[in-house]
C-alpha cells in the first residue's frame, strides 16, 4: 500500500547544511568570516607567539607610522609600538567580548526561557525584573559597576554581561512564547515529555537560530562596550586592549592621529566582521528566505 513517490525525489539536505549553503552564498558574510579569521589569527599570533611586550618603550613617542623600520604603525605617546599593542590588545578585547556575550547569553536564555515557557506569574515577575535592568542606560550602569568594583577585565566583562542580558532574555522569551504553542511541543507533551525535556530539547533548539544571531551580535556590542569604558578611562590599565589604546591616546589626538585611529579601526573591523557574520547567519536561518 505504499505511496508511489515522485521519481525525482527531493534530495535530502539537513536544515543545518541548508543554512550553511545559504551562508556560503552570502558574499558579505563570507567577507566577514575571512576578515574575522584574519583578525583572530593575528590576535592569536600576538597572544601566544609573539614575545614582544606591548608596554615596552621602543622608540621616540608618537613616531609617525613607518618612521623607523620596525614600527610600521608608529608609536604612541610613550613610544610604545602600536602594532604590538594591536596584536597583544586584541586578545583581551575579544576575550572580554566573548565572555560578556557568554554571560549575556547564559543569563538571558535562562531568564527568557523560564519566563516564556512557564508564563503566568513567573513570566510577569521575570519580565518586571528584566525591565528593571532595561530602564537604566546600559553604559551608565556599566560605568557605575566598573567604578564601584574596580576596573579589571573580569569586572568589565561581568558588568557588560549584567547590563546587556535583558535583550537576549526578551528575545528568548518571545521565541519560547511562540514555539511553546506550536503543535510539536504539544505533541512532545502528548508522548510524555517533561518540562525539562521540552525546554531544553524541544524548544531551545528551535529557538536557537535567532539566539545565535543575537549572541553573535552581542559579541560585537560587548567589544564596543569595552572600548567605550576604556575610552572613558574605566578600562583595565594593566591589560593592553584596543579600547585602552584609544582611551590612553585620546588626549594626544590632535598631534598624532595614528595611535587612536588604528585601534579604532581594529575594533571597527572586528565588530564589522562579527555583525556581517551575524547578518549572514540571520539570513541563513531565516525561514522566510529559505522557502523560495
Amino acid at each position: 500500500m505504499s505511496v508511489q513517490e515522485t521519481r525525482r525525489a527531493i534530495k535530502p539536505v539537513s536544515p543545518l547544511r541548508e543554512a550553511a549553503q545559504m551562508f556560503c552564498r552570502n558574499r558579505p558574510a563570507i567577507f566577514g568570516t575571512v576578515l574575522l579569521s584574519l583578525i583572530v589569527a593575528a590576535v592569536f599570533y600576538g597572544t601566544f607567539i609573539s614575545g614582544a611586550d606591548p608596554y615596552e618603550i621602543v622608540w621616540a613617542p608618537q613616531a609617525f607610522p613607518g618612521e623607523a623600520e620596525n614600527i610600521p604603525l608608529g608609536t604612541d605617546y610613550m613610544g610604545r609600538d602600536i602594532l604590538t599593542g594591536l596584536l597583544k590588545g586584541g586578545g583581551p578585547t575579544i576575550a572580554v567580548g566573548l565572555s560578556a556575550a557568554l554571560i549575556t547569553v547564559v543569563i538571558g536564555i535562562s531568564v527568557g526561557a523560564m519566563a516564556g515557557y512557564f508564563g503566568g506569574w513567573a513570566d510577569n515577575a521575570l519580565m518586571r525584573f528584566t525591565e528593571f535592568f532595561q530602564v537604566l542606560p546600559a553604559l551608565l550602569f556599566a560605568m557605575v559597576l566598573v567604578t564601584l568594583f574596580s576596573p579589571t577585565l573580569t569586572t568589565i566583562a561581568i558588568a557588560i554581561g549584567i547590563v546587556s542580558w535583558p535583550q537576549t532574555a526578551r528575545l528568548t522569551r518571545a521565541e519560547f512564547l511562540r514555539i511553546r504553542n506550536l503543535e510539536y511541543v504539544t505533541a512532545a507533551r502528548a508522548v510524555g515529555a517533561g518540562n525539562n525535556r521540552i525546554i531544553w530539547r524541544v524548544i531551545l533548539p528551535n529557538a536557537l537560530p535567532p539566539l545565535i544571531v543575537s549572541a553573535t551580535l552581542t559579541i560585537g556590542v560587548a567589544i564596543l562596550f569595552e572600548a567605550g569604558l576604556s575610552f572613558l578611562g574605566l578600562g583595565d590599565p594593566n591589560t593592553m586592549s584596543w579600547g585602552l589604546m584609544i582611551g590612553a591616546n585620546r588626549s594626544y589626538l590632535l598631534d598624532a592621529w595614528w595611535p587612536v585611529t588604528f585601534p579604532g579601526l581594529a575594533i571597527f573591523l572586528t565588530v564589522l566582521a562579527v555583525s556581517l557574520i551575524g547578518d549572514g547567519l540571520n539570513d541563513a536561518f531565516n525561514p522566510k528566505l529559505r522557502q523560495r
Binding site: 608596554y55 621616540a60 578611562g233 574605566l234 590599565p237 594593566n238 588626549s251 590632535l254
Partner: protein, 506 residues
C-alpha cells in the same frame, strides 16, 4: 603706561578643573583659586621676585620679635554688595581660614587679630611665623565679608560659597557648576580704573584637545595650567598665541615617586635609592615630557631661593642600583626578578603620573624589580589607598605653595603621619632630626639661618628618600598674544587679573 590702555572686552578662560564652589577660604586648589582670586581680594600680592606687594593692604609691618604683624587697609574698599571692607572682615577672614582651610600651617600660629580701628588689623602670633606674608597673598587668604559668612552657618557648606559677595575686581554673574563661571567687572573696585576687562568667562572643558582647539579657533583666550607636552608644543607654534611657564613658581607643583617607607622591602633606604638610581629623570623630562618640564631634585622647588643645589640628584646608574639591591640582600630569582612592587598613580593627569608609572613598569625590571601598575579609576579610590597606607610605590603630585611651611613640612614631619588624610606624611617617614629642623625653620625669621636649616633638611631627605622627586609639573599658560599684563607673579592666574587688558580687541 596706564593711559595707553583701552579698557573693555571680555576674556574666555578654559580649564579642565571644575570648582566645587568659589570660596578659597575653605577650599584649596586651582579650580577654586582662579575664579576665587578674581572675586576676592587678598591683603598682598607677590611679584615674580617673591616680594610682597600692596593690594588690599596698603602697608604692613612685621614686629621685631616676629610675634605681631600690623596691617593697614586701603581706603574706600567695598564688598560687591557695597558694604565697606573693614579690619573686622580681615580678622574674620584670617580666623575662618585658620579654622577651616586644609593648609593648617598657614595661620596656625595666629593667636588673635586685633582691630584698633576700621583700617588697622594687628595679627598676633604665638611664635614667629616667616611664612605668614606669603600666606596673605593669592588665593590663600581671600578677604570675605563677615556680614555674609558670619551668620552662624557652617562656612564649609555656606550657600554663599557658590554665590559669593566678593571683595575683588570681578563680581560673579553666574556659576553654572561644572560648566561655566561668568564674572563681570566690579565698578567700585578699590583700585581706580581697574579692572580693565569687562568680563571673564571661565569655561570648564572635559577634553584637553577641545580646549586646545578652542584656543586655536579663537573661541577661548586663556588656557592656564596646561601640562601636556604636546599641547604646549602645539600651542607654542600657534599663530597669535603666547605660551609661558611663568607665574607658577608659587605653586611649586612637584611630581614625585613616593615610597611606603614602612613596608618591606621599601623600609630599606638602599632599596629606595636603588630605585632612584634606576630611574632616568632625563628620559622622563626630555622624552616623555618632550623637554617642557624641568627636573626637580629636592623637596623644595628649584626656583625657590630656599632650594639646596647640592642635594644628591640620583642620575641614572643601573650598576649602582643593582649593587645596592644586592647589598640589601635581594637576590634575583631564575627570571631575574628580585621582588615585585605595585605602583599607584593619581588618576587624570596622564603624562605626569600614569605615563611615568608605566615607564617604571618597563624600566625597573632592568634592575630586577617587577612592577605592576595599579590604576585607580578615580581620585577617591587613589586617595583612599594612599592615605590608608595601602601601597608600595605611588606617583604623586604635591604643591609647595610658596613657603615650605605650607607645602613641604606636611610631607616630612613625623607628627603629620595621619592615617586617612591624603597629602599628609603618607610615606610614614620619620626622622627626629628632620622634625627638629623643620620646627626651627618654621619660626626662624632670619633668612640666612632659615636657609641653612632647610639646606640640611634637604640633604637628609634626599638621602633617605621618602620620596624621589622627579620633575616640576610644567604648568604653562597659553593665551592670546593681544592680551597685555598677563599676571606674572608667583601665583599666575591664581591672582587677580585686574591689570589684564586687550592690547587689541579680537
Amino acid at each position: 603706561h596706564a593711559q595707553d590702555i583701552e579698557p573693555g572686552g571680555s576674556v574666555v578662560v578654559v580649564s579642565t578643573q571644575a570648582p566645587r564652589h568659589l570660596n578659597p577660604a575653605v577650599q584649596s586648589g586651582i579650580a577654586t583659586a582662579v575664579p576665587g582670586t578674581q572675586i576676592f581680594a587678598s591683603l598682598l600680592k607677590y611679584d615674580e621676585n617673591w616680594q610682597p606687594q600692596p593690594y588690599l593692604a596698603e602697608s604692613w609691618d612685621v614686629a621685631e620679635d616676629g610675634l605681631s604683624v600690623t596691617i593697614t587697609l586701603v581706603e574706600g574698599a567695598t564688598f560687591h554688595d557695597g558694604e565697606p571692607i573693614t579690619s573686622e572682615d580681615v580678622r574674620f577672614s584670617i580666623m575662618t581660614v585658620r579654622d577651616n582651610h586644609p593648609f593648617q600651617t598657614m595661620f596656625e600660629p595666629v593667636s588673635d587679630v586685633e582691630t584698633p580701628d576700621e583700617r588697622t588689623a594687628v595679627i598676633k602670633l604665638s611664635k614667629p611665623h616667616p611664612a605668614l606674608l606669603l600666606a596673605m597673598s593669592g588665593a590663600l587668604l581671600p578677604i570675605i565679608p563677615e556680614h555674609v559668612y558670619g551668620d552662624g552657618q557652617d562656612v564649609q557648606v555656606h550657600p554663599a560659597n557658590s554665590a559669593p559677595v566678593g571683595s575683588g575686581p570681578f563680581r560673579l554673574v553666574e556659576f553654572d557648576p561644572g560648566r561655566q563661571i561668568t564674572l563681570e567687572r566690579y565698578e567700585d573696585f578699590f583700585i581706580e580704573g581697574r579692572p580693565y576687562l569687562d568680563r571673564i568667562v571661565i569655561r570648564i572643558v572635559s577634553d584637553p584637545s577641545s580646549m586646545v582647539l578652542a584656543l586655536e579657533a579663537g573661541e577661548a583666550d586663556i588656557l592656564p595650567f596646561l601640562t601636556a607636552s604636546q599641547d604646549i608644543r602645539r600651542l607654542e607654534s600657534g599663530e597669535g598665541l603666547a605660551v609661558t611657564n611663568r607665574g607658577y613658581e608659587g605653586i611649586g607643583a612637584i611630581n614625585w615617586l613616593a615610597f611606603n617607607t614602612n613596608k618591606a622591602p621599601l623600609d630599606d633606604i638602599r632599596v629606595r635609592q636603588a630605585i632612584a638610581y634606576a630611574i632616568d629623570r632625563d628620559f622622563i623630562v626630555n622624552a616623555l615630557h618632550r623637554g617642557v618640564s624641568a627636573p626637580q631634585r629636592g623637596p623644595i622647588v628649584e626656583s625657590n631661593p630656599l632650594f639646596n643645589e647640592n642635594v644628591e640628584a640620583y642620575d641614572l646608574d643601573l650598576e649602582k642600583a643593582t649593587a645596592l639591591l644586592d647589598e640589601a640582600g635581594h637576590a634575583p630569582d631564575a627570571n631575574g626578578t628580585r621582588f615585585t612592587l605595585t605602583v599607584d598613580y593619581l588618576p587624570g593627569t596622564g603624562e605626569q603620573q600614569q605615563n611615568i608609572a608605566e615607564y617604571l613598569r618597563s624600566q625597573l625590571p632592568k634592575i630586577g624589580i617587577a612592577v605592576e601598575v595599579r590604576a585607580s579609576p578615580d581620585f577617591p579610590t587613589w586617595s583612599q589607598r594612599i592615605s590608608s597606607f595601602d601601597f608600595d610605590l605611588t606617583m604623586d603630585m604635591v604643591f609647595n605653595w610658596g613657603d615650605p611651611v605650607i607645602g613641604v613640612h606636611r610631607t616630612y614631619l613625623s607628627s603629620n603621619i595621619r592615617e586617612g588624610v591624603i597629602w599628609s606624611n603618607t610615606q610614614q617617614y620619620s626622622n627626629d632630626r628632620v622634625d627638629e629642623l623643620l620646627e626651627e625653620a618654621a619660626v626662624e625669621n632670619d633668612p640666612e639661618r632659615r636657609k641653612a636649616l632647610y639646606d640640611e633638611f634637604q640633604t637628609i631627605v634626599t638621602d633617605e628618600l621618602p620620596v624621589y622627586n622627579i620633575n616640576l609639573i610644567p604648568y604653562h599658560t597659553a593665551y592670546d598674544e593681544r592680551l597685555g599684563n598677563m599676571p606674572e607673579g608667583i601665583w599666575g592666574l591664581m591672582q587677580s587679573m585686574d591689570e589684564v587688558y586687550w592690547i587689541e580687541q579680537p
